[in-house]
Amino acid sequence: MRGKKRGTSANLDLVFSALSSPTRRAILDRLSHGESSVSELAAPFAMSLPAISKHLRVLEKAEVISKVKDGRVYVCRLEPESLQWAARWINSYGALWERQLDSLSDYLEKEE
């Protein structure tokens, strides 16, 4: 499954949305230690395999993971490039000013 071109605004939307779930972040955390089969990934969660697969599809669409068939099982692997684009955005001047203006807004509200 191919998502949006990496680093584009549309891909960043998919990445940040993919990261907005504790389950998916836990899956990424697990994959940052090495590739893993779908059933291995599902094991720590009190969730059905289809439910986990749904999360994996979201991650795949954002291109932060890839899934390849290895014999009879699917193996998932982290694709760090999309995350690096997301990190680059977080570290950009745009994100810096978003934080600054959040903070200014809070300050102005509090001091009113």
Partner: protein, 144 residues
């Protein structure tokens, strides 16, 4: 300034106060120190500023691990309470001077703040300040 900037960031935000008050919050050192925040893990250690054309400012920032980072600049345009233009340089081993324009537009009890940040290199500035190479660890700690 006769420099060309290849990268421009524009941010627009409506903040809940009248224009004059927002301008003061932006330009009085004691107030700046209270809201300035370059990141959740950073503290603002000092703010010095001399608000006049040609006046300088410096802002001290300190990371959670004690790493200091100073931002310096010079005011090029000071038009209270409407507009500021100033240079902005992270004091890093290879400092890059950038240009910030801030415009304040009155919306009655609220104010629209427009920030335009012009710089010439994609990879300098905030990505350099964090001091990490866009790693998953860094991203995770920023998002958690």
């Amino acid at each position: 300034m006769d420099r060309s900037w290849s990268e421009t960031v524009r941010i627009r935000r409506v903040v809940p106060a009248r224009k004059e008050r927002v301008f003061r919050a932006w330009t009085e050192a004691a107030q700046v120190k209270r809201w300035w925040s370059i990141g959740t893990d950073w503290k603002t250690s000092f703010v010095d500023l001399d608000l006049r054309v040609g006046g300088k400012f410096s802002v001290g920032n300190e990371a959670a691990d004690g790493r200091p980072l100073v931002i310096t600049g010079e005011f090029l345009v000071v038009e209270p309470p409407d507009k500021l233009v100033y240079t902005w340089t992270f004091q890093l081993p290879k400092p890059e001077e950038t240009l910030v324009t801030v415009e304040f537009r009155s919306l009655g009890d609220e104010t629209e703040v427009l920030v335009t940040h012009e710089h010439s290199s994609k990879d300098m500035g905030p990505s350099a300040i964090a001091g990490w190479n866009a790693s998953l660890d860094g991203l995770a700690s920023l998002l958690s």
